[in-house]
C-alpha cells in the first residue's frame, strides 16, 4: 500500500522481488490485489511526473506479475491497456503529455503492453478488437510503427515494438474465432503504414542487425497475410460487408474499417508487388538467419496469398529457388520443403498454374538474361544467378528431360552455356608451365618426380569467382543428371563443330554433362536413356576426342623436335630453353594464344576421356583397344599440362577398369598398345611418339610381351634401316630399353671372367707349373692363331669385310637351323647389329646411345657366348674408332663399354685391345698426365679429368679380366705409373693405386719391377749370399714424389702374398 502513497523505486522493486519468489498460482490469486498498486503508479505516471526509474520498475513489475498469471478481467485489461497506450503517446509531438518518455521508459511500456496482450485470455483480448476500439487500436499500431520506423531509437525498442505488433496482429487467437477474418479488415487500413515501415527496416542500413531485419520481415509477412490472405479475402468478399454495416457505432468510426473489396485489393497490389520486388532484392543477405527468414516469408506468401499475389509468384519462387541452393542446410532445407509443399498444393488445386510451368518460364527468361548478367554484374551477383539456374534445373528434375526435348530450348540453353563458359586462354602461364613436361621418353616410374602432376587451371572470360565456376559446372552436371544424354551431347557437339571459338567450352560442358549423367546410375535410372545408349554416347565421344587430329593439336612439328641438340649437351633430355626455342620457330604459324588453346583443348579431351572412364566403369575394358594408346602417348607430351592430365586420365582409366594401378593397366593391355604402336609405326611421320610408348611398355611389362612386340621391334629396326639419320634419335632409346628389359627378364648367370691369379703360381708345384705353362702356351697359340686370322681381315677392303660377314651370317644361319637361339637373344643380336653403324655416327648423342646399347646388349648376351663373340667381332671395327673420338664423353663411354666387354668376353678381345685400344689410351693418359700434374682444383670438373679417372679406375680390372700379360700388361702399367706421383690429383692417385693392385694380380713381378723403377725403399736382400745384390736401381731409399704410393703398393703386395705362404 505504501506504493500507492509514495511510489518509489524501492517499493516497486520490493514487490517485484516478492512476486518473483511466489508460485504462479499464488500470483494468480493475488493478481487483482497486486495489479491495483501498479496501476495506480502508472496512472500517476500519466498525470504527473514521477521519476523515470519508477515507471520502468513498475512496468517491469507488471511484466513479472503478468508473466506469472493470466488476466481474465476485461475491465482491468482495458484499463491497463489504455494506460499503457496512453503512456506510449508521451512524446515530443504530444502536447498533452507532461513530459517526454525516455528510451528506457518507452521500452518498458511497450514490453509491458506486449506481455499484457500475450498473457490475457482470449475473451479479454477480444475487447481490443471490438469495433468501437478500432480507433485506439489504430493509434497504438501507428505509434508502434512510429517507434519502429524511427531509426534513431534503440534497436531493442524497435525490436520490442515489432514483437508487440506481431502480438497485436493476434496470430495466436484469431484462428479460433469465427470472425478471425475480420481482423484482416481491421488491419487493412494499417497495411500501407506497417508494410512501408517494415520495408524501410528491411532495405535500411545493413548495420542494424539481422534480428531486426528478420523481425521486420516477419511483421511484413504477417500483415500481408492477414490483410491479403486468400481465405480471409474470399470470406469477406463472399459474405459482404454486412458485419461492418451492422455494427452499432458512429459512422466516423466505421469508416476506419476498410472494406476490402476488389477495388481495394487492386489499389493495394501494385504497392505490394513493388515491395515484394524490393524485398526480394535482398535475398542474398550475408546472414543465413536472414535468408531463413526469407524462406519463411516466401513460404507464407505463397501459402496464404497465392491468389491475391499471384503476379508475384514467380518472383517469390525465384527467391525460394535461389535459397534452395543455399550452402546452409538450415536455409536450403526449409526452402526446398516450402517449394515441395507449394508444388503439392498446386497439383491438388485445379486450374492453378502448375509450378513446373512457372519454373520453366522462369528458367527460360533466366537463361535468356544469363549471358548479359554474367558479363555485366559483379561476382557475387553472378554466383546468385548461377545458383538460381541450378535451383531451377534441380527443381524441374525429371521434367527437365521433357523440356530438353524441345529443340529451341536446348539450343538456347546450349548457346548460353557455351557463351558463359568461355575459357580464357590468353594467359601466358599455360605455355610457360609447359616447359617442364616429360619430354621424349615417358618413364612412368619417375614421371611423378619429374612432373608436378597438376591439372591446368581453367580461367574463364566472364568471371573469376570459383563459386560461379563451380555453380555453372554443377548446372551442366544437373543437366546431364536429369536430361537425356544423347540429345544434350548431340546438341553440344553440333555447336562444337560449328565454330572453333566454342570448342573449348563445348568440350568442357560435355564432360560435365557426362559426369552428371554418371552420377545417375547410383540413383534412379532415367526414362529416356538406357545403359546401351550411354555406352554409344561414350564410344562416340571417345572416338571424337581421341581422333588423330584432336590428339595432335598441341604437337609441335616432329621435325622441330628432332633438331639435334648442341653437341655439348650430355643429358639425353633437352633442356627447357631448347624447347622454348623450338616453340619460337613455330611462333610464326601459331601465336601463343592459339597454342594455349590447343593445349587446353587437349587437356579437356583427356579429362573427357577420364570422365568417360568413370561413367562406363569396367565396360571401358572393351574400349581400351582404341582409347588406351592415345592417352598413353599424351603422357609423353612435352607440355606438362597435357602430360599430367594424361597421367591423371590413365589413373582414372585404371580405376574404372578395376586395375590396381596404371602399371597394371598397361601390362594387362599391352597387346592393345602394341597393336596401336605397330600400326602407327607404319606412318611414322605422323606418329613420331609411338616409339616412346613402346619403350614405356618395355619398362613395365614382363617376358611374355616379347613375342607381342617382336614385329614392332622388327618394324622399328627396318624403319631405322631406311631412315638412319633422322630417326635414330627416336628409336635408339627404345632399343636401349629393349636391351635393359631383356636384362631384367633374363637375368644373366654369367660371372665376369677373371684370369686366374698368377701370384700363387710361383709357390706351386714345379710339375704343375710346367703343365700350366704347357697348357697356357697351347691356348695362347690357339688364340693367337684365331686372332691373327681376325687381324688379317682388318686391312681388307670394306667389301671383303662385308662378304666375310655375309659368310658368317650364313654360317650363323646354319647354326641356327640346328638350334634356334631364344627370341630375346635374337632381338638383342638384331639390335646390336644395327648399332654397329650408329656407333660411328657424327652426332655424339647417337654415339653415346649406341655405346649404351652395346654395353647393355653385351651383358644380355653374356650367357650366350656363341652369339656374343661373333657380334663383338662385328662391332669391333667401328667400336675401336671411338677411342680416338674428339668428343671426350664418347671416349669415356667407350672405355666403360670396353670394361663391360672385358667382363663378358674376357680374353677374347685381349689381342684387339692390345693392338687397337691401348696405344691411343696410353698416349692419351700420358699426355694428360702432364696437364693434370699440379693442376688446380677446377681441373676436377673438366671432361679430361673424368676421362682420366674412368680410365685409371677401369684399366686394372679390364687387364685382369682379359688376362693381360707381358707387353700388354706393361703398356697398361706404364701409362698408369705417372699417376702414382703425389703431384697428381688425389682422386687420380687413388684410382691408379687400386688399378695397380689389380694389375699385380695379373703379374706381380712385372708390377714390382716397374714400381721399383720409380722408388726403391731399400735394396732387396738376396735370398742367399750366393746371389749378388741387385744394383739395377738408382737412388735407393731416396724419397721422391712416388714414394708414398709405391710404398703403399709394396705393402699390399707383401700382404697379399703372405696368406699363400
Amino acid at each position: 500500500m505504501q506504493l500507492v502513497q509514495s511510489p518509489s523505486t524501492k517499493h516497486v522493486q520490493a514487490i517485484t522481488v516478492e512476486m518473483r519468489s511466489f508460485d504462479d498460482e499464488v500470483v494468480q490469486g493475488l493478481q487483482q490485489f497486486l495489479i491495483f498498486p501498479l496501476r495506480t503508479v502508472l496512472m500517476q505516471c500519466t498525470s504527473q511526473s514521477l521519476p523515470e526509474q519508477v515507471l520502468i520498475e513498475t512496468c517491469q513489475a507488471l511484466n513479472v506479475l503478468l508473466s506469472k498469471s493470466l488476466l481474465h478481467n476485461k475491465a482491468v485489461f482495458m484499463d491497463l491497456f489504455s494506460i499503457l497506450t496512453n503512456l506510449m503517446f508521451f512524446d515530443k509531438t504530444n502536447s498533452m503529455a507532461p513530459r517526454c518518455l525516455s528510451e528506457e521508459e518507452k521500452m518498458a511500456v511497450v514490453q509491458a503492453l506486449c506481455t499484457l496482450i500475450t498473457k490475457s485470455s482470449d475473451e479479454v483480448l477480444h475487447e481490443v478488437y471490438v469495433p468501437s476500439n478500432i480507433a485506439r487500436l489504430g493509434s497504438v499500431v501507428s505509434q508502434l510503427v512510429a517507434f519502429v520506423s524511427d531509426t534513431k531509437t534503440s534497436r531493442s525498442l524497435r525490436s520490442q515494438a515489432m514483437d508487440t505488433l506481431l502480438v497485436l496482429m493476434q496470430k495466436r487467437t484469431y484462428k479460433h474465432k469465427e470472425e478471425w477474418w475480420q481482423h484482416g479488415s481491421r488491419f487493412a487500413g494499417l497495411l500501407p503504414g506497417i508494410s512501408t515501415a517494415m520495408l524501410k527496416v528491411v532495405i535500411g542500413d545493413s548495420k542494424q542487425g539481422h534480428q531486426l531485419f528478420c523481425k521486420a520481415l516477419d511483421v511484413w509477412t504477417e500483415v500481408a497475410c492477414l490483410t491479403l490472405g486468400d481465405e480471409s479475402l474470399s470470406r469477406e468478399q463472399n459474405e459482404g460487408f454486412a458485419w461492418i454495416d451492422g455494427l452499432q457505432m458512429p459512422q466516423r468510426l466505421k469508416e476506419l474499417i476498410t472494406r476490402r473489396d476488389e477495388n481495394w485489393v487492386k489499389s493495394v497490389l501494385p504497392r505490394m508487388e513493388f515491395m515484394i520486388k524490393e524485398i526480394s532484392k535482398l535475398k542474398k543477405h550475408d546472414n543465413w538467419k536472414v535468408r531463413r527468414a526469407f524462406v519463411k516469408w516466401g513460404d507464407c506468401l505463397l501459402c496464404q496469398c497465392e491468389k491475391s499475389l499471384s503476379n508475384c509468384a514467380s518472383l517469390i519462387l525465384e527467391v525460394l529457388v535461389l535459397l534452395m541452393t543455399d550452402s546452409y542446410t538450415q536455409v536450403a532445407a526449409p526452402a526446398k520443403a516450402a517449394l515441395e509443399k507449394y508444388r503439392d498444393r498446386q497439383s491438388s488445386i485445379e486450374g492453378c498454374r502448375p509450378l513446373v510451368e512457372i519454373l520453366k518460364e522462369n528458367l527460360y527468361s533466366l537463361v535468356t538474361s544469363l549471358p548479359r548478367r554474367i558479363r555485366m554484374e559483379d561476382e557475387e551477383e553472378k554466383g546468385a544467378v548461377v545458383g538460381l539456374l541450378n535451383g531451377y534445373i534441380s527443381l524441374l528434375g525429371n521434367n527437365m528431360s521433357a523440356l530438353l526435348l524441345s529443340l529451341p530450348h536446348v539450343t538456347r540453353l546450349a548457346k548460353v552455356l557455351v557463351q558463359v563458359l568461355q575459357l580464357d586462354v590468353t594467359d601466358q602461364k599455360i605455355l610457360e608451365e609447359s616447359g617442364m613436361g616429360a619430354k621424349g621418353s615417358t618413364n612412368l616410374s619417375n614421371f611423378l618426380q619429374r612432373v608436378n602432376v597438376m591439372k591446368p587451371r581453367k580461367v574463364f572470360v566472364h568471371f573469376r569467382d570459383d563459386n560461379v565456376k563451380a555453380g555453372l559446372l554443377k548446372a551442366c552436371r544437373l543437366l546431364g543428371f536429369y536430361g537425356d544424354l544423347s540429345i544434350l551431347v548431340e546438341c553440344f557437339l553440333d555447336l562444337y563443330r560449328e565454330s572453333a571459338a566454342h570448342q573449348l567450352s563445348c568440350v568442357l560442358i560435355i564432360n560435365e554433362i557426362l559426369a552428371g549423367h554418371g552420377e545417375r546410375k547410383d540413383t534412379v535410372e532415367g526414362v529416356f536413356s538406357t545403359e546401351s545408349g550411354r555406352e554409344d554416347v561414350v564410344r562416340m565421344l571417345l572416338e571424337e576426342y581421341l581422333s588423330y587430329d584432336n590428339m595432335t593439336l598441341c604437337e609441335t612439328k616432329p621435325q622441330t623436335q628432332l633438331v639435334p641438340v648442341s653437341s655439348s649437351s650430355s643429358s639425353s633430355s633437352p633442356s627447357v630453353s631448347l624447347y622454348l626455342m623450338d616453340d619460337c620457330d613455330a611462333e610464326a604459324q601459331q601465336t601463343a594464344t592459339t597454342r594455349n588453346k590447343a593445349i587446353m583443348l587437349t587437356c579437356l579431351f583427356l579429362e573427357g576421356v577420364a570422365v568417360c572412364a568413370k561413367v562406363t566403369g569396367k565396360k571401358l575394358r572393351l574400349m581400351l583397344t582404341d582409347a588406351l594408346y592415345p592417352v598413353a602417348e599424351k603422357m609423353g607430351s612435352e607440355v606438362s599440362a597435357v602430360s599430367s592430365t594424361a597421367y591423371l586420365t590413365l589413373c582414372h582409366m585404371a580405376e574404372a577398369c578395376q586395375y590396381s594401378s596404371v602399371d597394371e593397366l598397361i601390362q594387362s593391355n599391352a597387346d592393345y598398345l602394341v597393336n596401336s604402336i605397330s600400326l602407327r609405326l607404319r606412318h611414322f611421320h605422323r606418329h613420331a611418339r609411338a616409339p616412346s610408348v613402346l619403350s614405356v611398355m618395355l619398362q613395365l611389362c614382363t617376358t611374355n610381351i616379347l613375342s607381342l612386340v617382336w614385329d614392332s621391334i622388327v618394324e622399328i629396326l627396318e624403319t631405322l634401316d631406311e631412315h638412319h639419320a633422322e630417326q635414330a634419335v627416336v628409336f635408339l632409346p627404345v632399343l636401349y630399353q629393349l636391351t635393359l628389359a631383356v636384362a631384367r627378364w633374363f637375368p644373366v648367370q654369367h660371372t665376369p671372367q677373371q684370369a686366374k691369379p698368377t701370384s700363387p703360381k710361383a709357390k706351386a708345384d714345379p710339375a704343375e707349373i710346367v703343365q700350366l705353362l704347357v697348357e697356357r702356351h697351347r691356348t695362347r697359340l690357339q688364340a693367337e692363331a684365331y686372332e691373327e686370322e681376325a687381324a688379317a681381315e682388318d686391312p681388307h677392303t670394306v667389301e671383303e669385310e662385308a662378304a666375310k660377314m655375309a659368310e658368317e651370317g650364313e654360317l650363323e644361319e646354319k647354326a641356327e637351323e640346328k638350334k634356334e637361339p631364344p627370341l630375346h637373344v635374337k632381338a638383342v643380336k638384331e639390335v646390336l647389329s644395327r648399332t654397329k653403324h650408329l656407333v660411328s655416327s657424327s652426332d655424339p648423342r647417337l654415339t653415346l646411345l649406341a655405346l649404351d646399347i652395346i654395353q647393355q646388349g653385351c651383358l644380355d648376351l653374356a650367357d650366350h657366348q656363341n652369339e656374343l663373340l661373333p657380334m663383338v667381332h662385328q662391332l669391333w671395327q667401328s667400336f675401336k674408332q671411338r677411342f680416338q673420338d674428339t668428343e671426350k664423353l664418347v671416349v669415356i663411354k667407350a672405355v666403360k663399354t670396353l670394361h663391360r666387354l672385358c667382363s663378358c668376353c674376357g680374353d677374347f678381345i685381349r689381342q684387339r685391345v692390345e693392338k687397337d685400344v691401348l696405344p691411343s689410351l696410353k698416349s692419351c693418359l700420358e699426355k694428360q698426365a702432364q696437364i693434370s700434374r699440379q693442376c688446380g682444383s677446377s681441373y676436377h670438373y673438366t671432361v679430361n679429368f673424368k676421362l682420366q679417372l674412368t680410365l685409371l679406375s677401369t684399366l686394372g680390372e679390364m687387364a685382369l679380366q682379359m688376362g693381360l700379360d707381358g707387353a700388354g700388361l706393361e703398356q697398361v702399367l706404364y701409362c698408369c705409373l705417372p699417376y702414382l706421383s703425389q703431384h697428381q690429383p688425389a682422386k687420380l692417385q687413388q684410382a691408379c693405386v687400386e688399378s695397380v693392385k689389380q694389375l699385380m694380380m695379373c703379374d706381380a713381378d712385372i708390377v714390382w719391377l716397374a714400381l721399383s723403377g720409380l722408388y726403391m725403399p731399400a735394396v732387396p736382400a738376396p735370398p742367399s749370399h750366393h746371389f749378388q745384390p741387385v744394383t739395377v736401381f738408382k737412388g735407393v731409399g731416396e724419397n721422391n714424389e712416388y714414394s708414398t704410393s709405391v710404398t703403399m703398393l709394396f705393402q699390399h703386395m707383401d700382404s697379399s702374398s703372405k696368406p699363400d705362404t
Binding site: 583397344t625 605397330s678 607404319r682 606412318h683 607381342l708 614385329d711
Partner: protein
C-alpha cells in the same frame, strides 16, 4: 592386261566399266592407294599431292592385328557377326578362337597333330566346327562350353595342300569334296559321313598332278552344283557330281593352280591364281565350259589364296610377295595393295559385314576395313 604402277588413283580415275557399281560404292574423295613399294621400290609418300593443300592419305593400314599365333596362319573362318569371333588355323595344327571385340585369343587347341590346318568351317552359330588338316583327316568338333570336343572324323586319303569344299545337291545338301590321294577327289556326305562318289579322270596321276584347289560352281538353272578342280599341271576340270563325269577341262594355267574362287552364278566370273604373276579370270558358259575371260598380270609371282566378296564387287588375293591385292570384279582392274605382312600371306577371308581378315606366314592375322561403304 593391267600393269600395276606405284600410283595413287583418285576416285574418279578408278577404272570402271559402264555398268559399274553406283557411285556410293566408292567412298567420295577417297584416295585409293596402289603401290608396289615393297618390291618396286616406289616410296609411297612421294606420291602426287592431289589438292596441293591436303596431305595425301597415308597408305591403308589394317584396323588391327591379332597377335599370338605361334605358327604361320593357314586358314581363317569368320563366325556369325553377332558372335564376333574369328577362327584361325595354324601351320602347327592348332586352331585359335579370337574374340573380335576384345581382340584377344580366347581359346587354342591342337586339332591336327601338328600338321597344317587347311580348312575351317563353323556351323550352327559356331556350336559346330569342321576342320581339315594335312594330317589327312576331316574332323568334326562340338563346342562344349568353352572348349571344343572331337565329334568324329573322316579319313581322307590324301595329305596334299588342297582344302575341301562343301557342295550342295538337290538330294544331298551336305556334301563335302575331300581331296584324295594324287588327283582323286572324294565326295562325302556329312550327315552319314560316308563316301558317295569318287572323281577320278582315270588318266595316270602324273598327267594331272595333285589336286590343288577346288570350288563349287552353282548352276543357275538347277540346284546341282558342279565341282571345279585345279590340278598341279595347271589344268582345271569341271566335274559333274551327279554322274561323276568330266563336264569340261581346260589348261588354264601353265603351272599348278594354287587357288580359285567363283562369284555368284548370276555374275558368273571366277578367278584363279598360280605360282606365276598371272591371275586368270574365267567364266562358265551355258554349255558348262570353262572360258578364260581375262588375264591379269601382277608384278610379283605367286598367289596363295583368292576370295570374291559375296556381293561380287571386289576380290582379294593373298600373295607370296606379302601383299594383299584388291581387284574390282567388274573391270578386273586393281584397286589397292594392302601391304602389311612381312611374310607370304596364306589366306584371306571376308566376314558377313565385309571385314577382311588375312593370315600370314609371319604368324599375324591382319583385319582390314576397306571398301565397306556400299
Amino acid at each position: 592386261m593391267t600393269r600395276f604402277v606405284g600410283n595413287l588413283l583418285r576416285r574418279d580415275e578408278v577404272p570402271r566399266d559402264s555398268n559399274s557399281a553406283p557411285d556410293s560404292y566408292y567412298a567420295p574423295n577417297t584416295l585409293l592407294f596402289i603401290s608396289e613399294s615393297s618390291m618396286a621400290g616406289v616410296v609411297p609418300n612421294k606420291s602426287i599431292k592431289t589438292d596441293g593443300s591436303k596431305e595425301p592419305l597415308p597408305p591403308p593400314s589394317p584396323t588391327y592385328i591379332l597377335r599370338g599365333a605361334e605358327s604361320p596362319v593357314t586358314a581363317l573362318e569368320y563366325t556369325e557377326p553377332a558372335l564376333g569371333t574369328l577362327l584361325s588355323g595354324c601351320q602347327n595344327g592348332t586352331i585359335h578362337l579370337w574374340d573380335l571385340n576384345s581382340r584377344r585369343n580366347e581359346e587354342t587347341f591342337d586339332a591336327h597333330n601338328g600338321k597344317p590346318v587347311l580348312y575351317l568351317k563353323s556351323e550352327d552359330a559356331s556350336r559346330l566346327l569342321m576342320s581339315h588338316g594335312r594330317d589327312g583327316y576331316f574332323k568334326f568338333w562340338k563346342n562344349v562350353g568353352p572348349e571344343f570336343e572331337l565329334d568324329g572324323k573322316i579319313e581322307a586319303e590324301g595329305d596334299g595342300f588342297c582344302p575341301p569344299v562343301p557342295l550342295k545337291q538337290k538330294k544331298l545338301t551336305r556334301l563335302i569334296a575331300l581331296p584324295g590321294s594324287d588327283s582323286v577327289v572324294n565326295i562325302f556326305e556329312l550327315n552319314s559321313r560316308s563316301l558317295v562318289r569318287t572323281l577320278s579322270s582315270g588318266a595316270s596321276s602324273g598327267e594331272l598332278g595333285l589336286c590343288m584347289c577346288m570350288c563349287a560352281i552353282p548352276n543357275l538353272a538347277g540346284n546341282d552344283e558342279s565341282l571345279l578342280v585345279g590340278y598341279e599341271s595347271g589344268k582345271m576340270i569341271l566335274w559333274d557330281i551327279g554322274t561323276g563325269k568330266i563336264q569340261h577341262q581346260a589348261p588354264v594355267h601353265a603351272d599348278a593352280v594354287m587357288c580359285m574362287a567363283y562369284s555368284s552364278p548370276e555374275f558368273n566370273k571366277g578367278l584363279s591364281g598360280s605360282v606365276d604373276e598371272m591371275l586368270v579370270a574365267w567364266s562358265i558358259t551355258e554349255d558348262g565350259e570353262i572360258q578364260t575371260v581375262n588375264k591379269l598380270e601382277s608384278t610379283n609371282a605367286g598367289f596363295n589364296d583368292v576370295k570374291i566378296r559375296p556381293d561380287d564387287r571386289i576380290a582379294v588375293t593373298a600373295g607370296w610377295d606379302n601383299n594383299i591385292r584388291v581387284f574390282n570384279m567388274k573391270s578386273l582392274r586393281p584397286l589397292a595393295i594392302l601391304a602389311y605382312h612381312r611374310d607370304s600371306v596364306h589366306c584371306v577371308e571376308f566376314s558377313e559385314n565385309y571385314m577382311l581378315a588375312a593370315g600370314s606366314k609371319d604368324h599375324l592375322i591382319s583385319v582390314w576395313d576397306i571398301y565397306r561403304q556400299v
